[in-house]
């Protein structure tokens, strides 16, 4: 078991399944803790649960439609006015919107707990922007691979039809088809990479074929929503949103939100875009509604509820409040309204002072509290430290609207393990792990459809490159910096390897002498302090040992790990635009770089080799794993510009300017860093000479690490991007960039600097200013996605 599970954990780790814990001051991603033992539910039991879940989803949909419409359930006294009008989640700006039934709620999650008698009881509903479908799918992919035999043997119900349904429903909600061939254009709106569930957003977007966007990528024109792409504005028809209700529009909802789109509410009101779940749907998340579920079901559906609820009291009702006051030491207290968070207070755990404080708060603002009867949960086996232990679970089940007004329940779900043995209460932040839920024993004898799971794989092996939808400016910006940071990391590793090799291999001729230009280069690049960088040859060995310790220190902001972190952060924002393998390599790279490098030169050399191989595989994926679309172009532009800037820096750093003789040592180091040693020796067997070395590194456009090669590549990619005329600017930034490249290309072709140190210094000085300017012009042309602000 343990051995097989190692494989599962590795799979999850490499797939980069993570969630952020907001409580963590460093905001680090934590790996998703999947338990190797699935929760098995018999098909017959599941049928009853699923029927109840469908009813619940139908009911919540009706409740929302009523409360955002004519409010008959308030007028008829089914629900108290104070409960709804006092809920901060009731968005007045969204009242009176005329929405299609399926657009009110598209996806509903229900948290359930199984009591000692085996009855599943509803703990809470999630109707605003339910999380978990993506994690469920990823769990299933991993489980079905690591427990392949059991999975087949158990005849587990497949998840793929549910996701296909979700996609079909989203398409059906489109007010029109704005995409190619009249298909609707769909987007997933995420708060961004800092959100705890960003992994899931990227995963779902990729899986469902939605364009992953942030608020700043969208704009509202003529009461319709458009995506800002490199090629101009593209209309969006349906938005699956993961941004909370009140953050979705700074104009009509929270004015301080930077995550939303100004005018979105108006666009929905005008019927030009469908937002799923509808704006304001956080209202039915509020636990305060639960005591009325039975009454609502009978009133709106004419049906008795099929699912049992955990008994709940709302403090705004005098009779229920009396129960709460009497049960202070017994009940589980939670905020009444979803927008107040989900912090739980367990009555039995309170000391006298805590109980008094709770009672005071209950007296002062009773409407803000609910209390639930504690459920004595049944437990399930969980794998902990190599053995089975019993833990309570909370199961999250999902239902998806269908275009004909019915609901489809996902045959499976996300079972989360309670950290506490006594209570069943979890959140993504505090939960102690998750289980896949297998519905077994149904559809016996039916042939499993072959495509089932294969179509669920996020990226079947090689993967695809760009997907449907156009490249948002923000994504282009991130990709450009992924290219730059990946190359920066590569250059740093090359330098470190060159240094480590010279320390560990005494037989290398000229080793000590060559440490001098390497030290200077490291100082020039800001990797080490200048007083170490400037040490003479007699002290070079000691200096380099010290230098390697500094660079290897994971806490050093100029060190290797910091560069890897920047690379990972840039890539996190465009996870859906890069091959799946790219993220996996980055995850491993991050892991390797966060372990302190051994300062023993030989061990360090081995570790650097590993990092270098991983970085090289990123280049391989760039070359072979991505289509030549705009996403790829920006990645390449970033890498090539960074490399060009790095080469110019190496000339300066190694000391080939006037007054420095242009020593053989410096030239050898430059050749090694440019991986040009072999190419040079083939052509010039007589030895290292200044003129041919410099000519190779500057002007040889057949060598992939020469300056001429970088400039040519940038020129070639730049002309393929849409030109920008620069609204409000006197000169087009793309035109200017092309002119600068032309100048750079002329400069490196000039043979004079290969002979004359003064001319070389002049060249590196000019290029040192010109190349970063090209990077700035690209930013100005393509990435200047200004953020909206309120006035």
């Amino acid at each position: 078991m343990e051995e097989r599970w190692d494989a599962g954990r590795r799979l999850l780790f490499q797939n980069g399944v993570t969630y952020h814990a907001y409580a963590d001051p460093q905001g680090v991603e934590r790996p998703w803790p999947l338990d190797p033992i699935p929760l098995l539910l018999p098909h017959s039991e599941w049928l009853m649960i699923a029927e109840g879940l469908r009813q619940r989803a139908r009911l919540l949909n009706r409740v929302l439609a009523d409360l955002y419409g004519d409010q008959s359930i308030l007028r008829d006294g089914v629900l108290p006015y104070g409960l709804v009008l006092g809920d901060p989640g009731f968005l007045r700006a969204c009242h009176g919107m005329d929405l299609a039934a399926g657009a009110r709620l598209t996806l509903v999650a229900t948290d359930m707990v199984r009591d000692r008698t085996g009855i599943w009881r509803v703990l809470a509903s999630r109707t605003q922007a339910p999380t978990g479908t993506g994690y469920t799918l990823e769990n299933r992919v991993v489980m079905s691979q690591t427990l392949a035999e059991s999975f087949r043997g158990c005849n587990v119900e497949r998840l793929s039809p549910f996701f296909e349904q979700l996609r079909q429903t989203l398409i059906s909600l489109a007010p029109r088809g704005s995409g190619p061939d009249g298909c609707p254009r769909l987007a997933l709106l995420t708060p961004g990479p800092l959100n705890e569930a960003y992994f899931e957003h990227a995963f779902l977007a990729r899986h469902l074929g939605l364009t992953l966007v942030e608020g700043a990528d969208l704009t509202v024109r003529d009461q319709a929503v458009y995506l800002k792409t490199l090629g101009g504005l593209e209309r969006i028809d349906v938005i699956l949103r993961r941004v909370d209700d009140d953050f979705c529009d700074p104009l009509e909802l929270r004015p301080d939100s930077a995550l939303g789109v100004a005018g979105l509410v108006e666009a929905v009101r005008a019927g030009n875009v469908a937002v799923c779940n509808s704006l304001g749907s956080g209202l039915t998340d509020s636990v305060a509604l639960m005591p009325w579920m039975g009454a609502l079901s009978r009133h709106l559906l004419g049906e008795a509820p099929l699912l049992a609820d955990v008994t709940t009291y709302w403090g705004g009702d005098p009779r229920q409040r009396a129960e709460m006051v009497a049960g202070l030491d017994r009940l589980v207290f939670r905020p009444a309204y979803s927008s107040m968070g989900h912090r739980t207070t367990f009555g039995p755990e309170l000391d006298a002072a805590g109980r008094a404080a709770l009672a005071a708060s209950l007296r002062r603002r009773p409407q803000d509290w609910v209390a639930q009867e504690p459920v004595v949960p049944s437990t399930a086996p969980v794998w902990r430290d190599g053995r089975k232990v019993a833990r309570p679970l909370v199961m999250r089940a999902f239902a998806c609207a269908t275009p004909d007004g019915d609901w489809m329940v996902m045959p499976g779900g996300l079972a989360r393990i309670s950290a506490d043995e006594r209570f069943a209460s979890v959140t993504l932040q505090t939960g102690a792990g998750a289980k896949d839920v297998w519905i077994v024993g149904g559809a016996i004898g039916q042939p499993q459809r072959r495509r089932g799971l294969a179509s669920l794989m996020p990226d079947g092996g090689g993967d695809s490159g760009p997907r449907a939808g156009d490249l948002p400016s923000r994504a282009a910006d991130h990709l450009f910096w992924v290219g730059r940071y990946a190359e920066r990391a590569d250059a740093a590793v090359r330098t470190l390897r060159a240094a480590a090799r010279r320390l560990s291999d005494d037989a290398h001729p000229g080793a000590e002498e060559e440490l001098v230009p390497l030290l200077r280069l490291m100082g020039f690049n800001g990797m080490i302090p200048m007083e170490i960088a400037g040490l003479p040859q007699t002290d070079a060995v000691r200096g380099m040992r010290q230098a390697l310790e500094i660079v290897a220190d994971p806490a050093n902001p100029g060190g290797l790990r910091a560069t890897m972190d920047r690379l990972r952060r840039a890539a996190a924002g465009v996870r859906d635009r890069l091959p799946g393998e790219f993220s996996r390599v980055l995850t491993v790279l991050g892991e390797v770089a966060s372990q302190p490098l051994k300062t023993d030169p030989a061990a360090m050399h081995l570790r650097l080799d590993e990092v270098s191989r991983l970085l090289a595989s990123l280049i391989g994926l760039e070359l072979d794993g991505m289509s030549r679309g705009p996403a790829w172009r920006f990645l390449v532009l970033g890498r090539r510009l960074e490399r060009a800037i790095g080469i110019v820096g190496a000339f300066n750093g190694c000391g080939l300017g006037p007054g420095t003789a242009g020593t053989v040592a410096s030239l050898s180091v430059l050749l090694e860093l440019a991986a040009a040693g072999a190419a040079y020796r083939d052509r010039h067997p007589v030895g290292i000479r200044r003129e041919p070395v410099l000519s190779l590194l500057l002007a040889d456009d057949d060598h992939p690490r020469s300056l001429a090669f970088q400039i040519k590549t940038v020129q070639r990619q730049l002309v393929k991007l849409p030109p920008i005329d620069g609204e409000g600017l006197s000169v087009s930034p793309t035109l200017l960039a092309n002119q600068l490249l032309e100048t750079a290309s002329r400069l490196v072709a000039d043979p004079q600097p290969t002979r004359d140190p003064t001319a070389l210094a002049d060249l590196t000085d000019r290029l040192g200013r010109l190349l970063p300017e090209i990077s700035n012009l690209l930013s100005q042309a393509y990435f200047s996605h200004a953020f909206a602000r309120t006035t």
Partner: protein, 309 residues
């Protein structure tokens, strides 16, 4: 911000005893350092339905003229205009012009209003009042200082009308009108501690105090007729947006307009535009722009009485 108006005999409108007809002009001019490429606006600049007020005319003009303008009524029944502009501009002018007749309120017999405890008990459950006893964005749950401040006006069994009027007068008497003391984001607790602010601050403070005791209170946005110093002509644009409070005084008396900035019940000097839970619900002009760089805004309001004066 308006200077407190001095009382004068109301002119008599032709139709109703004591009613006054006004023409109001509200100009907002934005200037930007860089071009603004996109602007979305939400305006509460037309007068709402009101039992004491008749609207004869309401126009809104925006220059440059936006491509999209829609009008609707918000949740509270206030007219609201959405406008969007996507041509680059460095200047934007929004001009609202309205004509209304304001009738005086029936006299409030404060001592005959129900006791405040009764009002609080009723208010939490009624459709008309339930949302106005709860905290809102600009009037969060009262802290101890505010609750103590409020409690001083509402001794046990006191009539709601008396307590509310007392509170209105005391804010006027004890607080200084000081436009330099606060910004729109100054919290109520600071206004209470420093005892200075402008009409919005005093309105929010009074709303917070009433709600601290479970009493329903609304924020009203509008204009105030001001009078020039004796012997001087009235200056153009000297008026300003004003804000005051409505306190609910039981089912019989309903919502009573009280102006804590001027320490009295509202009368025909007050022109009502919109009401809501607080400023955020009824902000006269809210915008979200792209670009613009540094920006400045100038607001000019004129409230002129028609029919002779």
């Amino acid at each position: 911000m308006p200077l407190p108006a001095r009382r004068e005999e109301d002119a008599v409108d032709g139709n109703e005893r004591g009613a006054v007809r006004y023409q109001c002009r509200h100009v907002t001019r934005y200037g930007y350092g860089d071009p603004v490429t996109s602007a979305h606006m939400l305006a509460h600049l037309a007068p709402r339905d009101h039992p004491r007020q008749t609207c004869h005319k309401a126009t809104l003009s925006i220059v440059p003229w936006p491509g999209v303008v829609t009008e609707r009524h918000d949740w509270f029944g206030n007219p609201v205009t959405y406008a969007a502009l996507h041509t680059p501009h460095r200047e934007l002018t929004v001009t609202a012009e309205i004509e209304v007749t304001v009738a005086p309120p029936p006299p409030l017999l404060a001592e005959t209003t129900p006791c405040w405890e009764e009002v609080a008990a009723l208010a939490a459950t009624l459709a008309e009042t339930a949302e106005f006893v709860r905290p809102s964005a600009r009037v969060p749950l009262a802290d101890t200082a505010l609750t103590l401040f409020a409690a001083a006006f509402f001794s046990q069994g006191r009539a709601i009308g008396e307590g509310a009027l007392d509170l209105t007068r005391r804010i006027h008497a004890d607080f200084s009108f000081d436009p330099t003391a606060t910004t729109i984001s100054t919290p109520i607790s600071e206004v209470l501690a420093r005892k200075r602010g402008v009409c919005q601050d005093f309105a929010h403070l009074m709303i917070g105090a009433l709600r601290a005791l479970g009493l329903p209170a609304r924020y009203v946005s509008g204009y105030l007729r001001t009078l020039p110093p004796p012997g001087k002509p009235k200056l153009q644009g000297a008026d300003a947006s004003h804000a005051w409070v409505q306190a609910w005084c039981g089912p019989h008396d309903g919502w009573i307009d009280l102006d804590p900035t001027n320490g009295r019940q509202c009368d025909t000097d007050h022109v009502t535009l919109a009401w809501g839970r607080d400023y955020d619900d009824v902000c006269p002009l809210r915008g979200v722009i792209l670009g613009g760089g540094h920006h400045g805004v100038l607001v000019a309001v004129d409230v002129d009485q028609l029919d002779g004066r």
